[in-house]
Amino acid sequence: MPVRVLIVDDSGFFRRRLTEMLSADPRLEVVGTANDGAQAVEQTARLRPDVVTMDIEMPVMDGITATRRIMATTPTPVLMFSSLTTDGAKATLDALDAGAVDYLPKKFEDISRDQNEARRQLCERVYVIGSSKHATPSSHATTTTRPAAPTPPPTTASRQSAASRPLATAATRPVMPTATPPARRGQYRLVAIGTSTGGPVALQQVLSKLPADFPLPLILIQHMPGTFTPAFAQRLNQQCAIEVREAKNGDELKPGLALLAPGGMQMVLEQRGGRTTVNITESDPALHYKPSVDVTFSSVARIFPAQTLAIVLTGMGADGREGARLLKQGGSSIWAQDEATSVVYGMPAAIVDAGLADAVLPLPNIGMAIAQKT
């Protein structure tokens, strides 16, 4: 069964282009289009699509309001189309708050210079989000109290891990991590979190659980364009007790301060004369992700090889696996978000499948776990 898509955009031109592109992928079926937010809500309820692509600026009802309504009535994964501008950042983050799962640039050139590649990636995103069973916005996450995400059914992994908890070796098949992270209190000197699709909401959920006097410094790597990260850091800072800001070159790690890697750049740790600072560098064009979790994790592995708590949250792809492998080899702990609460179980799955995970946790528990175990 193909993934059923509802396209929402007030521009007929854009609706037709999207329809053409998505219909060209046999895995996708465009089941309907809507011209504005109000129609989108109505069509979603009627057609029950697997995924909705949503424009932000529309007459009658804007995309953010529409997303909120859809979440309230017929929760469906929503993929926002937004402009990658600083103004677009605010709207996009609002949309994510409202329950949208992910966003894509409206200017397809921003996905990739190569048109065919852009199309391929577009279809891939829509497909992954539409086919993910968990992309439904259980993780709808303004800081308000919502019914906690359903307790994840015990995964095969965790059931087996109860019996034996073998050491991870590169050779063994998936290590079976526990659902409860091992207690190594007082041992950590840094918390590093990497995430992609679904990350903005997940990070918010995790970080808002940390107290203002959280004793460790944090570094956050969220796949995001450079125009978005300042607004995102600002927003997290408002929502969390700890201080969050976008990292600037030379910022020093401090307890209770979370530094967010700026989009479009790479962030690595450096130690000089007892001070640990972040170094922001231009990205190697060969690197697909800017910022890359692997790059940052690898630099962390050099400085705090055994004293890092590295966490990989929801996201598409496998960024973070190689960095986590280095950390794991050094003796650090690696946690991964579980499948049930991940919007896209890609990056965490890569960690689990590589046998690197010390613990696999549902999103609502991660924040508490960090607060307790550090």
Binding site: F13, E57, K107, F108, E109
Partner: protein
């Protein structure tokens, strides 16, 4: 990226963007009236946003840049961070023109050109409220254009603009660039006007610094224009420039023409006026004396450019119609209408089958009755089909009306008049071709009403009228034609003045003039070479003349009527048929040939004893109800070899009107009224005076359709 105008995706974009642009045209003007309408601001924002999206998809970066900046400005506006002011609109409206121009280029299959840097710069300033602050301090936000120039010109506009004209006056100015006084400015003005004055100017330069800074807007305009003109011309065509300059008196007309040329050429040559200004702008910035000082010239340069831009924009609007006519080849049709048509085509097929069966024989008398029924049925179906198909070609008159708010806005702002434009019946549908054909004449009439009709606010107040004039545009369907009304509450026209003018211009003798009725006198304004304004103003001196307006309208089988009351206002009524494709006619016969006279021009028909005619002044006339009407034998004109023949003693006379004149045509036979489908004449006959087209008659023969005004022009050597 290579552009292929036939590309489906591009077409799709153009249809959508075209509609949005049209809407934006209206919305932006509305916005100035209700600057706090949040929905409107949102709609405008979305308009730019959507065009940007599509343009971005197609990689049309020039359009993306313009839309993106406009979007930013409107984002601030809708968030209440900045306010809509007349100044802001003065920037945004030209931006829309740029977008329209880019769009036209796209239609023509060209890559859109980037907007001029100075406009983008203005937008950038608007989009950054902080940055805009210092710029605005130099200019009173609510000040009129004239005031701005008064304030800015002597101190700041100077250095920026001198640069652009450096070729002409470099030597003189170079030494004094740093500090130029008002005196110098005046002197410079003189210098530019005639080379001989240069001497004076350079002499007067070192003198006192007291200010006499009353520079009128016109002077400043003229100066600017000259600066631009010279800056452009000196390099390639020095002798010509010298001539022009030496001539000393350049009439405004010549000047305008020159300006137009410059602007026109500016499109194709690299060093355009705007570029020069932009360069000087950067130079001004580079010089960095004090922060404030740099800011001021920048603003000045930008502002100084405006009059020129405004003019070119006006010209564009005037000439823009034609290009639009050629390019708009698609119509949007409601699918419901198409379904209806399909249904009727189905009916048509059924009737054909019925007739085909009947034609195969059987009992003759029975078949004849059946045939009658089938034909009656056919009649109904074709009638309905005709109406439906016609409806698919219908477009709301809004397409023409839509541009008027902007035209009126720009003009009234330029002329400092206060005008409230009221539009009624914008939804009235009429044939697509008519909509396009009416655009230019209507624009001209509206401009005339603004220019000549409505008085200056002070004058109006003196006459006991509200300061704000009202201009009404209305459209409504009246039976099988559309009535368009352009009505102003301005000064009105004095028939006596018009008559006197006509006599002065040698268009008629005093006696004839005296005999004219008021409405006949008003119609004089449509005659070629008739203008009551002694000086030709910027506005009405351009574009199509009133005679062209009338010709256009009569080409559309329409008519114009004027009512005017001195001191109260003028009302122009234009009647045009709903469609051009089908026309009600009076079919006549001359010898054995059938001709069709458009029914709109036929007044009455009567039978006449042709011996009761008189010859007055060598012209055959007939008395009809006490009035002498010129009488012509159509046979002599239209039938080969009949020009000198003697004619029967009695015949049918068809009275037709040409404008307000009535004439009688003697014809051989009258056939009757018939709706005919107009077929264009072939290439050989195309453009023949007096023929509007041809049609096929019920018996399968060809009938020529006569064009009465054309006929009178080519054959009636004497009119009335």
């Amino acid at each position: 990226m290579a552009l292929n105008a036939d590309d489906e995706i591009l077409q799709d974009f153009m249809i959508e963007a075209g509609e949005i642009l049209e809407l934006l045209n209206e919305q932006l003007v509305d916005l100035e009236r209700s600057p706090n309408d949040h929905d409107l601001l949102n709609a405008v924002f979305r308009g730019f946003h959507t065009i940007k999206g599509g343009a971005g998809f197609l990689g049309l970066d020039a359009m993306v840049t313009v839309c993106h900046l406009s979007e930013d400005v409107f984002n601030l506006l809708r968030n209440g961070e900045i306010q809509v002011t007349a100044q802001l609109m003065d920037t945004v409206l030209p931006v829309l023109d740029i977008l329209n121009a880019q769009f036209a280029q796209l239609r023509a299959g060209e890559e859109p050109e980037p907007a001029q840097e100075y406009l983008l710069q203005e937008l950038r300033v608007l989009a950054k409220p902080d940055a805009a602050q210092p710029a605005e301090t130099s200019v009173e936000p609510q000040a009129t254009v004239a005031a701005e120039i008064d304030v800015v010109a002597p101190s700041a506009a100077e250095p920026a603009n001198i640069e652009s004209s450096s070729a002409a006056v470099a030597g003189m100015v170079a030494d004094d660039m740093g500090d130029i006084t008002d005196e110098e400015f005046e002197a410079l003005l003189d210098a530019l006007e005639s080379p001989s004055a240069t001497q004076n100017a350079s002499e007067s330069v070192p003198t006192s610094t007291t200010s006499d800074d009353e520079i009128t807007e016109e002077e400043f305009d003229a100066l600017l224009d000259e600066l631009h003109g010279e800056g452009k011309f000196t390099a390639p065509v020095t002798p010509e420039t010298a001539d022009t300059a030496a001539d000393d008196i350049i009439t405004e007309e010549e000047f305008d023409a020159l300006l137009d040329e410059l602007h026109g050429e500016g499109k194709f040559t690299t060093p355009t006026v705007e570029n020069v200004a932009a360069e000087s702008l950067t130079e001004a910035n580079v010089s960095k004396e004090t922060p404030q000082a740099t800011e001021a010239p920048a603003t000045a340069a930008v502002q100084a450019d405006k009059p020129a831009t405004a003019k070119s924009a006006l010209t564009k609007t005037a000439g823009g119609g034609d290009t639009a006519n050629q390019t708009e080849t698609t119509v949007r049709v409601d699918t419901k209408r198409l379904d209806d048509i399909m249904n009727m085509v189905g009916e048509l097929v059924l009737v054909r089958n019925r007739i085909a069966t009947l034609a195969q024989g059987g009992d003759i008398s029975q078949a004849r009755e059946e045939m009658g029924k089938a034909v009656a049925n056919l009649d109904v179906v074709t009638g309905d089909l005709q109406t439906s198909v016609m409806k698919t070609r219908m477009q709301p008159i809004k397409k023409v009306f839509g541009r008027f708010p902007r035209v009126v806005r720009d003009m009234s702002r330029g002329m400092k008049k206060e005008i409230n434009l009221v539009m009624q019946g914008e939804e009235t549908d009429l044939d697509k071709n008519l909509v396009e054909a009416l655009a230019d004449p209507m624009v001209h009439l509206v401009r005339n009403a603004v220019d000549h009709g409505i008085e200056m606010p002070d004058q109006r107040e003196k006459a006991g009228k509200p300061r704000q004039g009202t201009l009404l545009l209305a459209a409504e369907q009246e039976g099988d034609h559309i009535l368009l009304v352009i009505e102003d509450d301005g000064a009105g026209m004095d028939p006596e003045v018009l008559k006197r003018k006509a006599v002065e211009k040698g268009m008629m003798d005093a006696e004839t003039a005296a005999r004219l009725t008021d409405s006949e006198a008003f119609v004089l304004i449509f005659d070629a070479g008739f203008s009551t304004k002694t000086e030709i103003s910027d506005v009405s001196g351009r574009g199509v003349g009133m005679d062209v307006v009338r010709t256009r309208i009569s080409q559309l089988n329409g008519s114009v009527d004027i009512q005017s009351e001195l001191g109260k206002g003028t009302r122009l009524s234009i009647k045009v048929p709903l469609t051009l494709a089908i026309m009600p006619t009076l079919m006549i016969k001359l010898r054995e040939q059938t001709f069709a006279l458009p029914l709109v021009s036929v007044n009455e028909i009567f039978h006449l004893d042709l011996t009761k005619t008189n010859v007055v002044d060598g012209q055959l006339v007939v008395m009809v109800r006490g009035k002498a009407l010129p009488l012509y034998y159509l046979t002599r004109w239209m039938v080969d070899g009949c020009s000198g023949i003697t004619l029967p003693e009695s015949g049918h006379v068809v009275i037709v009107h040409v404008g307000t004149h009535l004439v009688g045509f003697v014809v051989d036979y009258l056939i009757g009224q018939e709706e005919v489908v107009i077929k264009p004449l072939g290439n050989l006959l195309y453009g023949t005076m007096g023929l509007a087209g041809a049609t096929i008659t019920g018996d399968g023969k060809i009938a020529l359709i006569l064009d009465v005004p054309g006929l009178m022009k080519s054959y009636g050597h004497r009119q009335a």
